[in-house]
């Protein structure tokens, strides 16, 4: 727990004339949002403990442009994309991992046509590959036998058909995985996507995150597992609105694995 995080930047690697095996794309939420920063740190701890040779862009990273694009501002999106691609291509980056499904989707699907072609992985996919390569061990620890439900992020699930990687990791944690009645392809959105995170919802009779939290509560979970910083915020708020924050935690899968290892 006490060891300081090792977070090298691409610039430092470059100065030493080296290249890391993977770029960790931290994302805006992961860099600035207090809750998401904890996920970032947990993921770095795992990278450190698995001796992954990674680097971040640090102050050279900028928003992928996802919220601008989904708001309809294609100009701003492409400006952001082209700027980021220039930086990444200058570092000759081949492989990228990110803990944000929105960054994941944009980098993986929307950057190639603008000149940024990388092998992009969501952190749950990356952690799973570390596990398979034997570089990381995942054991239940304090989560063993706990009742846990997983909320599929739209931009990981429906958008990119990644449903199993996060679930495989949860199974490794030896939890009791209970699915919500709407899950995987049918999973309900948390309400944050399409730039909704940054605005008040339109007039309606309920907040989407509350509707989704109700789905989760039906499974009577001890923990709601998430794989997206925005879903995390939405579900945390939903749990609070139901006054359940004492009994139900909302945790990212990376945080769970790090905690299980006592990192």
């Amino acid at each position: 727990m006490s060891e300081a995080l090792k977070v090298p930047t691409m610039a430092e690697y470059m100065a030493e004339g080296k290249k890391p095996e993977v770029l960790f794309w931290v994302g805006c939420a992961g860099s600035f949002d207090d809750r998401a920063k904890k996920i970032t740190k947990a993921f770095v701890k795992l990278l450190n403990s698995a001796n992954v040779d990674f680097a971040v862009l640090g102050t050279e990273e900028s928003c992928t442009g996802d919220p601008a694009k989904r708001s309809g501002n294609e100009f701003l999106f492409q400006m952001q994309a082209v700027t980021n691609i220039e930086v990444m291509n200058a570092y000759e980056i081949k492989k990228v991992v990110t803990a944000c499904p929105h960054c994941f989707n944009t980098l993986k699907n929307e950057y190639p046509a603008l000149g940024g072609d990388y092998d992009v992985m969501h952190h749950t996919q990356f952690l799973k590959s570390l596990l398979e390569e034997g570089r990381l061990t995942v054991e239940g620890g304090k989560f063993k036998g706990k009742r846990i439900t997983f909320h599929d992020p739209c931009y990981l699930g429906r958008a990119n058909n990644v449903y199993e990687a996060p679930r495989d990791l949860l199974r490794k944690l030896e939890v009791e995985l209970v699915e919500m009645k709407r899950c995987k392809q049918k999973g309900l959105c948390c309400g944050a996507g399409g730039a909704q995170m940054f605005k008040e919802p339109e007039a309606g009779n309920k907040d989407i995150n509350v509707e989704r939290t109700e789905d989760a509560l039906e499974t009577k979970p001890e923990i709601i597992a998430a794989g997206c910083p925005f879903c995390n915020t939405m579900m945390t708020d939903g749990v609070k609105s139901k006054e359940k924050e004492e009994s139900i935690e909302v945790l990212d899968i990376a945080e769970m694995i790090a905690t299980a290892q006592d990192l």
Binding site: A4, L5, V7, T9, C28, S31, F32, K41, G58, T59, E61, S62, C63, G65, P67, A68, R70, S71, G72, N73, E74, F75, L76, F77, Q78, M79, Q80, T83, E86, N105, N109, E110, A113, L114, C154, Y155, R158, A159, N160, N161, K186, L188, C189, A192, G194, A195, Q196, M197, F198, K199, E200, P201, E202, A203, G204, N205, K206, D207, I208, E211
Partner: protein
């Protein structure tokens, strides 16, 4: 005199097919009003999609009850059309049951048609009950008032009448065969209508012939009317589902297209070597500056327009839309219906005036309000669930693009977010230089 029925039949057939062709050409013309988008790649994957989703009804059974019923009605509908072939040939040649020479195979065919017709009848009655007695929610939303509601029921009545006529026709025929009436060859198996024909016992041969002929004529005329009704109905999907699934997007659902017109300008702005004098020359070539996003149907691409004509109005999209479920005004089905209605209006305008004359209306505001557009979370639930691979989301996004890039009309919080991205590279007002602070907090 002898040939009057044949001539009459050919005339009716020609009129029915002629009017249908005329309307289908209109549909094709209207779809072509859309912008170009290239969907000529990856033919094998496209065929596979079409075979699986349109022909194989692959996505229907995600809702098991309506899915299975729909498959029964669909298979029945297709197979009974083989019988229509015989009816058409009989009508033209003045023969009766021309395929009867097939013997045992004919018995099998007619027997299967009867069973299918019966199953279709049952299926359609259950559909009617679901709509009108159980009142399933997705058939009662606000966009399903008026014509769309009657349309849904009318189609069901059509099918009920057609199937009943088919069975009555066979029952009368069977009775006539038993009487040994002239012309009525001993052919076919009648597993369903054998239960109807006892009702006709005691009716004179003359009256029975009138009954059989009437059922025969009304049945075939009904089919022609049905064919022509499609154009005015969500039932166009029985034809358009095929091209629609063939041309549907094959990329990951999360990927939104990068507007090419924007790319050109961005590349020019970012490229230090760009010749500043090249830009005006290029612009002069292209004439008017390109409009970004969509405010009317002609700004959409032809696949989006094809989508709108294909929409079955089933409402699966709306019932899974998180915005709609939480009481927001957005309904992805309405987005598709509005697009089609506006496209139809533009098409009628062209028919009337030779070419489009400004009618002071457009898809944005007159049909779809910004409030609906801003409620979307881009979650792809509508796209995932649509049984014919329609993307309401792509239309929503193109209209947002117009609102933001042409009218600067984003909600103010979104404008703040975008200003932040522009100035500090993050949607919140944090300095880019602080991006790594987390690592030593």
């Amino acid at each position: 005199m002898e040939y009057i029925p044949n001539i009459l039949f050919v005339l009716i057939l020609a009129a029915g097919i002629g009017y249908f062709t005329k309307n289908i050409r209109k549909v094709i013309r209207n779809i072509r009003l859309g912008k170009d988008v290239n969907r000529s790649d990856n033919k094998s994957a496209r065929f596979k999609n079409m075979a699986k989703i349109a022909l194989g009804q692959g996505k229907m059974t995600r809702r098991p009850v309506s899915g299975v019923l729909h498959i029964i009605v669909y298979i029945g509908f297709i197979i009974i059309n083989i019988e229509v072939l015989e009816i058409v040939i009989d009508g033209i040649l003045g023969t009766h049951r021309i395929f009867s020479f097939l013997g045992g195979a004919y018995d099998f065919l007619i027997g299967s048609f009867e069973i299918l017709a019966f199953l279709v009848l049952v299926g359609v009655i259950i559909f009617w009950i679901r709509r009108n007695v159980i009142k399933i929610k997705r058939f009662w939303s606000s966009e399903m008032k008026g014509w769309p509601k009657s349309d849904g029921n009318l189609i069901l009545y059509f099918e009920m009448v057609l199937m009943t006529l088919f069975l009555v026709m066979n029952a009368a025929d069977l009775q006539l065969q038993a009487m040994g009436a002239d012309h009525y060859v001993q052919a076919g198996a009648y597993p369903i209508s054998q239960f109807i024909s006892p009702l006709f016992e005691g009716i004179s041969q003359g009256a029975l012939i009138v009954l059989e002929r009437s059922a025969w004529w009304i049945h075939i005329i009904g089919i022609l009317v049905f064919l022509n009704y499609l154009y005015f109905s969500k039932h166009l999907h029985i034809l358009l589902a095929f091209p629609n699934t063939y041309f549907a997007n094959l990329k990951p659902q999360g990927e939104l297209d990068n507007l090419e017109a924007v790319t050109k300008e961005v590349m020019l702005m970012m490229d230090p070597n760009a010749d500043p004098f090249a830009a005006p020359a290029e612009d002069a070539d292209e004439g008017e500056p390109e409009k970004f996003g969509a405010s009317d149907v002609t700004d959409l691409n032809w696949v989006q327009l094809l989508n709108s004509y294909t929409c079955t109005e089933c409402g699966r999209c709306t019932s899974e839309c998180p915005a709609n479920q939480t009481g927001k005004k957005l309904s992805p089905r309405k987005i598709m219906m509005d697009t089609r209605d506006r496209l139809q209006e533009v098409g009628d305008n062209i028919d009337k005036n030779g070419s489009f004359v400004d009618d002071g209306k457009q898809l944005l505001n007159d049909y779809i309000s910004p409030e609906e557009l801003w409620a979307c979370t881009s979650c792809n639930a509508c796209v995932e669930t649509c049984p014919v691979n329609i993307s309401p989301l792509s239309i929503i996004l193109d209209m947002r693009r117009y609102l933001v890039m042409e009218e600067s009309a984003a909600p103010s919080e979104l404008n703040n977010m975008m200003t932040n991205i522009e100035n500090n590279g993050a949607p919140w007002p944090f300095n880019q230089m602080d991006r790594m602070n987390w690592s030593n907090e």
